[in-house]
């Protein structure tokens, strides 16, 4: 490597650090603000306080919202991963007419802005009489997260040796049995990742939840209400707290994932 190349490399690396700095600036800042005494943080900062954390921990509405959020994201992750798995497997195994239409049905939701999904879903749910319930949020979030589940599991199935399933049939296993004994174990890491990711996406989704939730608020809806309502550093405290919780889950999932399936780790 010549000197100029080394210089370029270092410049590029520095650039990467800058980009990461930009990405992490708001996250770090929000953690700092969450310990800052001022209600409307400005520079210079006020004094250190845990007041906002005390406030949220003592607020039953926040606990209620946390419970709703957990219920919603867990249900969503199970449903979306199940449907995503079925879809990924269909795509992997079968060729049929209208397959493109079928796949479009699965992959289209992310191309539609959340605000539009929110509007359409609220109107529709009100029409068929299921608006404002916890499970209307679950139904909506499942639609939004199926594509992620499907993509993760589909990528994993790509890596599978096609002859494995055929071998199972040749050994006399039924199709169902082959799925159970061969496909699911192979896809298991992807299934776990998919559950984590879909849960996380659901946990942070606010636009659709805001529209369809009615009185059953999730954590992001509470955050939105505080941001649009009375600005309050509780937002930062909630944000930091939620971040801590979800990162713990992700890291746990990652560790489980690594120790179980040592063969292949995360992308790429």
């Amino acid at each position: 490597m010549s000197g100029r190349d080394a210089l370029t490399t270092w410049v590029l690396r520095f650039y990467v650090v800058l980009v990461f700095g930009f990405i992490f600036m708001p996250i770090v800042a929000s953690v700092i603000f969450s310990f800052n005494s001022q209600r409307f943080p400005t520079v210079p900062l006020g004094s250190f306080t845990t007041e906002w954390y005390t406030a949220i921990l003592n607020d039953p509405d926040i606990w209620e919202a946390a419970r709703t959020s957990i219920l919603v994201s867990l249900s969503t992750s199970v449903l979306a991963t199940f449907i995503g798995f079925c879809t990924a497997y269909t795509d992997y195994r079968f060729k049929f007419r209208y397959k493109y239409g079928f796949l479009a049905l699965a992959l289209l939701p992310p191309t539609i802005p959340l605000i539009i999904m929110a509007l359409a879903m609220l109107a529709w749910f009100a029409k068929i009489g299921i608006s404002g319930q916890v499970w209307s949020i679950i139904a909506a979030h499942t639609v939004l997260t199926i594509p992620f589940a499907m993509a993760i599991i589909r990528l994993r199935l790509n890596e599978m040796d096609e002859s494995l399933e055929a071998a199972a049939w040749n050994l006399g296993a039924s199709e169902w049995r082959a799925v159970k004994e061969v496909i699911i174990p192979f896809a298991k890491p992807a299934i776990i990742s998919s559950m984590c990711l879909t849960a996380a996406v659901s946990f942070d989704e606010f636009a659709v939840a805001w529209f369809v939730s009615g009185l059953n608020k999730t954590i992001p809806v509470v955050i939105l209400e505080i941001v649009t309502g009375n600005i309050d550093p509780q937002v930062n405290a909630i944000g930091s707290f939620v971040f801590l919780v979800s990162m713990t889950l992700v890291v746990l999932a990652q560790i489980l994932f690594m120790t179980k399936g040592k063969r292949r780790t995360v992308t790429p």
Binding site: F40, T42, P60, E225, T228, G229
Partner: protein, 379 residues
């Protein structure tokens, strides 16, 4: 739990045990207290802050109820939210005074019994027969609090004399620093006042309405942004905006307490009054406890809570409320002029004819105003 603790092997619970139990207790408290007895849940539709602990906490505790609030901003928003929910969703609705009529016309609210409320203790006789709150002899909504809208400004950018006229919004030095609270009614009302429409500010014929639009559009180059509630707070506080159209002390009062150099005045062209009133939602099964809550909010204690509300302050409407406020928080009473005989006593301002109740447009529809508002934002 106590049983378990007594059965502990050693007499003295180990430090670890204590920590463990207290942590478990701390985590479980919110659930236990909720599951404890059958708490009645009251669904509330209100402006931000009315369902927060500082307002309803004491009442919740005393009556074993729990408020579930849904917040809106602006009367149009409120009507939309009710229309989208099944009938009977909201037990109690905090409405802007001028929207009560619409609520009633749409059949969203129950009639009230006037005998339940302290009408003999009102600070001002208008409040006993507030426009739109009565249909004939039937009361439909109980006024709770009010406040005044005028010029809200940063003291470092605008002097108090300048703030005494809406013309200060056009001051060249604050170009790009004038914000709007993102709701057509108060902002356009102020423009109408600036045009000299006085008491007829909502009753505009075509020519006057044309003129109001013209005036408003001429302000557009000054405008730095359109803000919701939170944005309004923040942008005044951090100095991004030096003046704000469409608000009053309900925003700047909170900021002042936080030490920001901002204030609100009622300018010489006149100010606008916002009024908040409680209604009981049609079809609720909790009318009794809701009635009790409204009575509580009109008691001196409730009125003081409203005057000190963390989200935004509102003036007391009863003599009893004002008296108690002067007793427990004379500083806030003085800051807001709620002391008998003070020059800027809000009641005096109303009596002098400087204040006009916020209303909906008389000759145009709300839609027309709203359409113009989105055009204005786009201009």
């Amino acid at each position: 739990m106590s049983k378990k603790e007594n059965r502990g092997r050693s007499q003295q619970p180990s430090r670890r045990q204590v920590l463990k139990y207290s942590a478990a207790a701390a985590l479980a408290t919110p659930f236990i207290s909720r599951a404890w007895a059958n708490t009645v849940e009251i669904n509330m539709l209100a402006w931000y802050g009315h369902g927060e602990p500082d307002m309803v906490g004491a009442f919740e505790e005393a009556n074993n109820v729990k408020f579930k609030p849904k917040y809106y901003a602006g009367g149009d928003n409120m009507l939309g939210l009710i229309a989208q929910s099944p009938p009977g969703t909201y037990d109690i609705i905090l409405s802007d005074g001028e929207f009560v009529q619409q609520l009633n016309a749409a059949g969203y609210i129950e009639p009230l019994d006037a005998g339940d409320y302290p009408f003999d203790d009102m600070l001002y006789e208008d409040f006993t027969k507030f426009p739109g709150h009565w249909d004939g002899d039937t009361l439909y909504s109980m006024m709770l609090r009010f406040g005044h809208l005028g010029v809200s400004y940063n003291k470092n950018a605008i002097s108090e004399e300048e703030a005494m006229s809406y013309s200060c919004f056009w001051k060249p030095e604050i170009k790009g620093k004038v914000g709007h609270f993102d709701w057509h009614l108060p902002s356009l009302g102020m423009m109408s006042l600036y045009n000299g429409n006085g008491a007829g500010l909502w009753d505009l014929d075509d020519a006057k309405w044309e003129k109001v639009q013209e005036t408003t559009l001429s302000l557009r180059p000054q405008v730095g942004g359109f803000f919701d509630y939170g944005g309004t707070f923040n942008s005044l506080k951090n100095g991004e905006m030096q003046a704000m159209v469409g608000i009053g002390d309900w925003i700047t009062g909170v900021l002042e307490k936080d030490g920001a150099p901002v204030a609100s005045v009622v300018p010489k062209e006149g100010g606008i009054q916002w009024t908040e009133s409680y209604c009981i939602g049609k079809g609720t099964e909790k009318a009794d406890i809701v009635k009790k809550f409204i009575q509580y909010m009109l008691s001196p204690e409730g009125q003081v809570k409203s005057a000190q509300m963390a989200a935004y302050p509102g003036f007391c409407i009863t003599k009893g409320g004002r008296a108690l406020l002067n007793e427990v928080d004379p500083k806030e009473a003085k800051r807001t002029g709620q002391v008998d005989g003070m020059a800027n006593d809000p009641i005096t301002l109303i009596k002098e004819g400087r204040i006009h109740y916020r209303d909906i447009p008389v000759q145009q529809s709300l839609e027309d105003w709203n359409d113009f508002w989105s055009e204005y934002k786009n201009a």
